[in-house]
């Protein structure tokens, strides 16, 4: 199941697809990795305010050459910019925005998503690994809507969408929508529902790479 030739959406396209679902005026936090790319794809006619938990509301894209400030970074510690109308604040105020339910949407990466919406994205549970959680547990507990961008399967080809997470949870029952390279999938009370397929990908192809039954759109 290696993907040497591209099948479905690439990383940029996944980010662009996720951006389509963010409404005008939304306050959005983007996780590290592919989610960071979402900042580039605000659809025409909309304005979205990006929050980065290290203390900035109104985050812009990467700086142009010569405009870098090593003290203006995002949660992934990458150089960013601030829009006109941004605000800086300290970490406790920043997480008040998260924990207090003020952020509308968070787009995160995932190691596993359970069909009940459980998210595992911080630890494999391997006792030899260095545990590291960052802000993920705060985000899933506090943000109104949690979405995931992830490759549909792991590097080794194992499904990331599963009947029940085997890795330690980040949060229980928190994910509402998943963007993979193959499809857009909603978490519903009945389970994973495919709401859109990537170009050239069919339902069976996605089902084969998923750890539990999918519902067709």
């Amino acid at each position: 199941m290696s993907e040497v030739e591209q099948i479905g959406w690439n990383r940029e396209q996944m980010a662009e697809r996720a951006a389509q679902d963010i409404p005008n005026g939304a306050y959005v936090n983007l996780g590290i990795g592919i989610p960071e790319k979402v900042v580039r794809y605000v659809p025409a006619g909309r304005e979205v305010i990006y929050h980065t938990e290290n203390g900035l509301l109104g985050m812009g894209d990467a700086p142009e050459a010569g405009q870098e400030d090593p003290e203006l970074i995002n949660a992934g510690k990458k150089l960013v910019t601030a829009i006109a109308g941004a605000a800086y604040f300290h970490h406790a105020d920043s997480f008040s925005m998260i924990r207090g339910g003020h952020i509308d949407i968070c787009v995160l990466g995932a190691m596993q998503v359970g069909e009940n919406g459980d998210l595992a994205n911080w630890s494999t549970g391997n006792p030899d690994a260095i545990p590291a959680v960052g802000g993920a547990m705060d985000l899933v507990a506090g943000v109104k809507t949690i979405r995931v961008i992830t490759q549909h399967v792991t590097n080794k080809g194992y499904p990331k969408l599963v009947s029940a997470c085997t890795f330690p949870l980040t949060g229980a029952g928190v994910v509402s929508r998943i963007y993979t390279d193959l499809a857009v999938i909603d978490v519903t009370p009945e389970g994973f529902k495919v709401v859109e397929l990537a170009p050239g990908v069919d339902f069976e192809y996605v089902q084969e790479r998923t750890g539990c039954d999918l519902i067709a759109a």
Binding site: N24, G25, Y27, E47, I49, H51, L56, L57, G58, A82, I83, A84, G85, A86, A87, Y88, F89, A92, F95, S96, M97, I98, R99, G100, G101, H102, I103, G142
Partner: protein, 236 residues
């Protein structure tokens, strides 16, 4: 484009419903959003629970809201300042409810409500009548009472400058409860002395980031409670 400006104080308070919990900024007259309060009186919502440090003075602003029998319950720390005539009278008659909260606990409960902290412990009020009926817990040898976060349906606050995103700065000690009330209310309504362009406020000095603000109305020359009280004004 995001633009939280609205066109009138009437529009600002239009959705405040009977029975709503309304946080109102201000410590005495500093920070009191008089025009928004007067618009709320005109609008007519009643049976309100109001959160403010005080209960207003004279017969204008918050005192007028109370005098016009719109407030069923006050949550405050100090309901009897100089010139507070209305609340004491109604309270003595048993016609308004009071939840008395120490000022710092009030500020922290509001901040907790806005920060998603449902409850916290504090040493304030331990051993006093205001701790009666509250859970007391000993942590590392000292007693603390359990206090709950406070949220509201609406906040009415006043600021010095605002931009279209809702980023705010305040004037001196008029800041007081406004930033935490903006955090704790579902809908935060702001009257600003000045409306500025996005980017005019240095991102380092924004006291309330726009995420906590919903509606902005410019009131360039706000009334001053003390001036109205000294003139013997009665609203409406």
């Amino acid at each position: 484009m995001i633009n939280k400006q609205i066109s009138s104080v009437e529009e600002a308070v239009a959705n405040i419903h009977d029975g709503a919990t309304v946080m109102i900024g201000g410590f005495g007259e500093a920070g009191s959003p008089i025009e928004l309060i007067h618009a709320l009186i005109d609008q007519g919502a009643k049976n309100l629970t109001v959160v403010n440090n005080n209960t207003g003075s004279g017969h204008v602003g918050l005192a007028a809201l109370i005098e016009n029998r719109r407030v069923a319950k006050m949550i405050c720390s100090f309901p009897k300042s100089a010139n507070s005539l209305v609340f004491p009278d109604l309270y003595t008659k048993g016609e308004i409810e009071l939840e008395l909260v120490p000022q710092g606990t009030l500020a922290e409960r509001i901040r907790a409500g806005g920060a998603g902290v449902p409850a916290f412990y504090t040493a304030t009020s331990v051993g006093t009548p205001l701790a009666e009926g509250k859970e007391v817990r000993n942590i590392k040898g000292r007693d603390y009472v359990l206090e709950y976060g406070l949220t509201a349906d609406f906040a009415l606050i006043k600021c010095l400058k605002a931009d279209r995103y809702g980023n705010l700065i305040y004037n001196k000690t008029a800041r007081n409860f406004a930033p935490v009330m903006a955090m704790a209310a579902d809908v935060t309504i702001v009257q600003t002395k000045e409306f500025v362009q996005a980017g005019d406020l240095d991102p380092e000095i924004v006291a309330t980031p726009g995420i906590f603000v919903d509606q902005i109305i410019t009131v360039a020359d706000p009334l001053l409670e003390s001036v109205l009280v000294n003139a013997g004004e009665v609203y409406p």
